[in-house]
Symmetry: C2
DNA sequence: GCTGATGTATAGCACTGTTATGCATAGCGT
DNA sequence: ACGCTATGCATAACAGTGCTATACATCAGC
């Protein structure tokens, strides 16, 4: 029966790969297509091989992260929003550890850089709003603060995923880092602490 | 001629694996032993398989890092020493990128945790000395500051290795982070900047 | 100078991703 | 309506991976 190049097959394979990743199953060419009724060749027509599949999986990871962070609508407190972005980022990494690892496993291009750029843009935007609101000094570079936040978040996520840091310590490390970072950017210590607490309120490390 | 279980073979294989990693060659069972005169079975008698080889390679990475950081003898300025440890850590990661990745690729045990613990102990010790010297507040937890420093360094190393951050920006990000971190720990801004500049003086990103 | 034990080389196994071949189907021109 | 071409897919084979079973060569002890 098959002839039409269903994009549905493509999506199904990517989602199946993400599911297998979540179940900590090995994602292999044959195990991926097993039971789907589709053959190994489908991976080649749709993704041009396993490398292409992993590219699509990484893309999926960035897309999901972008969607998750886009749900965090800005409030009147931009510093709280910045902290909430950090909490959402860490939450995404801890809830989908293998997907997160795949996202940064290889420094290859994404199919669509937009999702990654948009996500980082959210971070820069929050810093810029904190600046505009007078919380951060006008001298600081929003991209620089955002980059530093990302670097710390990435290290924290990977060390947490790898088990080199106890899961219960991650939020504390993140909030302590945020405090130092925001104060260095010019925020008032007390206000900063309040904002961080509010931003991390909904964070709960996965069991 | 072979019968005696030479430990020399073991060391030779680990060093060869590290060399292949440095040359960005694929370290595979057959390619590893090719040309060494020894057969694939040697990997099993000495390492009990490829997993054991990778454990030994990770161990080698930690040992080299420990040796490198141990060369940085403490000076009269503990904050400078702390910064120098960060520069040495980043230098190790950038000069041996694949070895660094292997060190943290899998969250499996090391053969000898001592090297890793000693290295982290150097970090804690520097913070404690900064505290004893009155540079850092007596309230801060040395292990906490050390952990935060490590988390940021790890994220910076991996993003730098992966090419997601330009190599020329890494030192600037690291020093900016150190500044915020040390000031948050209680150090004076001007003195802190001087110490960081001194600690990072010898740092040069590999071409 | 045997005997037992131990490390190693050879060859094969199951598995990986990839590719060559053949076939069934869909779209299109006449 | 028919045949033609092109395309997507299934099958099977290929080189490569880590690993293991078997046989051989070497050494230690008596």
């Amino acid at each position: 029966m098959p002839k039409a190049a269903d994009p549905a097959v493509r999506r199904a394979l990517v989602e199946r790969a993400a599911e297998m990743l979540a179940r900590r199953e090995a994602v292999t060419l044959r195990s991926l297509v097993a039971g789907t009724g589709v053959s190994t060749m489908a991976v080649y027509t749709h993704f041009d091989g396993m490398d292409g599949l992993w590219r699509a999986v990484r893309q999926e990871g960035f897309t999901r992260l972008a969607a998750r962070l886009a749900e965090l609508r800005p409030t009147a407190d931009p510093v709280r929003d910045l902290a909430a972005l950090g909490a959402g980022y860490l939450g995404h990494a801890l809830e989908h550890p293998d997907l997160y690892r795949a996202m940064f496993d290889v420094a290859a291009d994404l199919e669509d850089e937009q999702a990654a750029d948009d996500t980082f843009g959210l971070l820069i935007g929050a810093v810029a709003r904190a600046q505009a609101a007078g919380r951060f000094s006008p001298d600081v570079d929003p991209a620089g603060v955002a980059t530093g936040t990302w670097v710390f978040g990435h290290g924290l996520a990977l060390l947490g995923i790898g088990g080199l840091l106890p899961a219960t310590s991650l939020a504390g490390l993140a909030t302590a880092d945020a405090e130092a970072r925001y104060v260095a950017a010019g925020d008032d210590l007390a206000a900063c602490r309040r904002s961080i607490r509010n931003g991390w309120r909904s964070f709960a490390p996965p069991a």
